[in-house]
């Protein structure tokens, strides 16, 4: 087993809360077994910023709320054989997509920013300025789930998914036998 080349995994957190990355750690001691089979390339866990080479599996947390998210996601699609969306935000847009509900407005994006930085009842922004540093990526008109921007091969549901579900999915993908989840593992009620 050890002579097989290790599978390469890349991960990214787009418009999410990093909770799904934290949930990766909930695999607990099985991580030790997992690390015998895989190595991490581009990922916030390794702090590698660019793909060093093509990866077998890309794991995406979060949806797309700005142009940089789109850029990263497209880059992952080009460089990964299998792309896995992890968590509600990647799959459906999740919490950030609440701003998509501002729909009966001529300028929904402006309304959203003003609510967040100026008018909101709990806003504490003494400068009354909406952040606009040139280094900040431009926001998209709305929050997009990953599958609207690129093709996604698998989705791991949950907010955040449990360690068991993540392990089940990764183990299945690595052995080439992933058949979907056991129903009990993805029941949330």
């Amino acid at each position: 087993m050890n002579d097989l080349p290790k599978a390469r995994i890349a991960t990214a957190s787009l418009a999410g809360c990093f909770g799904c990355h934290m949930a990766l750690l909930d695999i607990d001691e099985r991580l030790i077994e997992l690390m015998k089979l895989v190595e991490f390339d581009r990922s916030p866990l390794t702090d590698i910023k660019r793909f060093t080479r093509r990866c077998d599996i890309g794991i995406i947390e979060g949806g797309c709320c700005n142009e940089e998210n789109v850029h990263v996601l497209q880059d992952f699609r080009r460089n990964c054989d299998i792309l896995v969306g992890i968590g509600q935000c990647a799959i459906m847009g999740g919490l950030p997509a609440m701003r998509n509900a501002i729909m009966h407005s001529d300028e929904p994006l402006r309304e959203c920013l003003e609510e967040a930085y100026i008018r909101g009842p709990f806003t504490q922004n003494k400068t009354q300025i909406i952040p606009n540093d040139p280094a900040l990526p431009l926001l998209l008109d709305k929050v997009y789930p990953c599958s609207e921007v690129v093709e996604i091969d698998y989705q791991i549901p949950g907010c955040a998914p449990t360690g068991d579900v993540i392990f089940e999915a990764l183990a299945g993908l690595l052995s080439g036998r992933f058949q979907g989840f056991e129903r009990a593992h993805i029941r949330f009620d």
């Binding site: 497209q74 699609r77 080009r78 402006r110 606009n132 431009l138 008109d141 690129v150």
Partner: protein, 614 residues
């Protein structure tokens, strides 16, 4: 006059309108239609008054007022022009006609002129496909429009002429029938033996009254008559169920809400055979033991209202409606005319009953079926105009006579409304069992590349299957035959029909309300060349879900334009499909997604604008 007194008089008038309908909440649609006619909108204050008078909540009144396309919460112009936005009209030059109206009136579609005189809007098929493009001007209809004709019409209206004067200088002197035929051509191209040939007056009713009600139902059952509205339920069985139901009151409802795009046969029957229709309803009443009837006329056919009312009055005067009909002691039956207000869904019998009850036109949960629990909870027979007319003729000429026409399982004749790319659009009364090709030859549409049988909820067939037969078992149709030549874009047609269903979904159930929007967007993707191979499976999958989970017939048939073209015109779809580059979605457009932010942030994208430093 101060505002206060205007308010008072308005209130008074609304109260009068409500009183005219006995302050009956079940007559809400009539009340609101009258209010709309009088005030050209249904304001918040109006809704309050109507709610008080009818004992309903304001939100219930608003529910009805906001449901129907012909009722508006915003003020409409004194002259409201509704352009028929059917695909047939579009192919017949609707764009030029619209531009002519917009230029002449100085408003765009959806607007009301500043002086409150003109409103211009689009409305789905108004049942004039054989004389497209057509439009409604208030309660009247103008057909065969051209830009020149539009300029004449608008000039006359701006001159202060009434819309009626456009039809004839002596409009007021004309009989209702003459008015109707001045406005709209019947275009009867082939008269069959049953409906459009010579029809002796009330012979069927005469014979029916000589028989027992049970015998009438046996006759209808023996004739093999099936419903002509589209679903094809056996008429005799429907009557039998209603006759067997025990109830204090029973109802006969005629469904004249002919909304399926491309269908206009009931319009011709209502114009030319109104007596036969009422005769059929009267026979049905005799058969099932009903004393009350409703004729539900679609809002688009309001120009036929005077004609129908005249016929009803005439029959009452002759003792053919009302008490002791034709001298038969204890046989009382009368009909009220219920106007619709522009809602396709009301052609569905449950929704039609809801609409008659003064509710928003939402379908009812089935079972119970209307024959046991229909209008106001009483047993109700709902039949199409053509079905009632057939019934009257069957009673006159005998079940065997009718049964011998047509084919096994599809007996008698059927009215086909042929429109689109053919030389002779119009009405053809033919026996069941004819092939599509034979009908196309009669109509001068041999060059057709595609024929839509049964309207958008029916089937679109291609040239290689024109030998299929027009029967219930092969190609069932409520009457619509829409012909498309090779110049037409199939996907444009499909996308139009999906947008029609999106517009006409009542919104009650999610699969229909949301699913059809997704289907429409998916078809749009194909048209733009942005679809990938997986989208074909997506179309089928989503269609199956909508059909499986929708609450009424609208959602169960709305994916048909897609499904039948996928089956019969697969190349149209596969030609538009291309595999995505790098598996990145072609439908996601980053430039339009960041364009708002570019304006707000007053800078360009450092990633997607190459010249962002400028």
């Amino acid at each position: 006059m101060t505002t206060g007194t205007t308010q008072d008089t308005d209130q008074g008038q609304i109260a009068l309108i409500c009183a005219r309908h006995d302050n009956d909440p079940h007559r809400m649609l009539d009340i609101l239609r009258d209010v709309q006619d009088r005030f050209r909108c249904i304001s918040r204050a109006t809704m309050q008054t109507v709610a008080e008078k009818t004992g309903l909540t304001e939100v219930a009144v608003e529910g009805v007022a906001s449901f129907y396309a012909f009722l508006s919460l915003e003020p409409k112009g004194r002259v409201t022009i509704r352009l028929c936005d059917d695909i047939v009209d579009r192919f017949a030059g609707l764009v030029e006609v619209t531009e002519a109206f917009e230029a002449a009136l100085g408003i765009t579609v959806g607007q009301t002129s500043a002086d409150g005189v003109f409103s211009l809007e689009y409305t789905p098929c108004i049942g004039m496909c054989d004389q497209a493009p057509a439009a409604m001007i208030n309660d009247l209809v103008v057909t065969n429009l051209t830009p020149e004709k539009v300029r004449e019409i608008t000039a006359a209206l701006k001159d202060g002429k009434r819309p009626e004067d456009l039809i004839s200088d002596r409009f007021d002197d004309l009989s209702p029938h003459a008015r109707a035929t001045r406005m709209v051509d019947n275009n009867i191209r082939h008269a069959g033996a049953v409906l459009l040939g010579p029809v002796p007056a009330d012979a069927g009713l005469q014979k029916a009254l000589e028989q027992t009600p049970a015998r009438i139902i046996e006759e209808i059952e023996a004739s093999g008559l099936r419903g002509c509205g589209g679903a094809g339920f056996t008429t005799g069985m429907k009557w039998r169920f209603a006759a067997q139901a025990e109830a204090d009151r029973k109802f006969i409802i005629c469904n004249a809400d002919e909304g399926e795009p491309g269908t206009f046969k009931d319009r011709v029957l209502l114009t030319e055979r109104p007596h036969l229709l009422i005769e059929g309803m009267t026979i049905a009443a005799r058969a099932v033991g009903a004393r009350e009837g409703i004729l539900y006329l679609r809002g688009e056919y309001v120009y036929l209202r005077p004609l129908i009312e005249e016929v009803l009055a005439e029959r009452r005067a002759k003792g053919l409606l009302g008490k002791t009909i034709m001298g038969v002691e204890g046989f009382d039956f009368d009909i009220r005319l219920q106007m619709g207000a522009g809602a396709y869904i009301c052609g569905e019998e449950g929704a039609l009953i809801s609409s008659c009850e003064g509710l928003p036109g939402e379908p009812k949960t089935r079972p119970p079926f209307p024959v046991t629990c229909g209008y106001l909870g009483f047993p109700t027979v709902v039949n199409n105009v053509e079905t009632f007319c057939h019934a009257a003729r069957i009673l006159d000429c005998g079940a065997q006579w009718f049964f011998d026409m047509g084919t096994e399982g599809s007996h008698g004749t059927k009215l086909f409304s042929v429109s689109g790319d053919c030389i002779n659009p119009g009405i053809y009364e033919l026996s069941y069992g004819l092939s599509v090709r034979a009908l196309l030859e009669m109509a001068g549409g041999e060059d057709a590349a595609a024929v839509l049988v049964g309207g958008p909820s029916g089937t679109m067939i291609a040239r290689d299957t024109f030998d299929r037969k027009l029967t219930f078992d092969d190609l069932a149709t409520g009457g619509a035959i829409v012909v498309f030549s090779a110049e037409r874009n199939i996907l444009e047609i499909v996308e139009y029909y999906m947008s029609f269903f999106v517009h006409e979904s009542c919104g009650y159930c999610t699969p229909c309300r949301v699913g059809n929007v997704f289907l429409q967007k998916a078809v749009a993707k194909f048209r733009q060349g942005l679809a990938n191979p997986a989208d074909i499976a997506y179309l089928k999958d989503l269609s199956a879900t909508i059909i499986e989970t929708s609450r009424c017939g609208l959602g169960m048939t709305s994916p048909n334009p897609i499904l039948s073209t996928l089956e019969n015109f697969p190349l149209v779809y596969s030609a538009m499909v291309k595999p995505p580059k790098d598996r990145i979605r072609a439908t996601f457009d980053i430039q339009s997604a960041i364009s708002d932010a570019r304006v707000l942030a007053k800078r360009r994208s450092s990633i997607y604008d190459k010249d962002f430093t400028k």
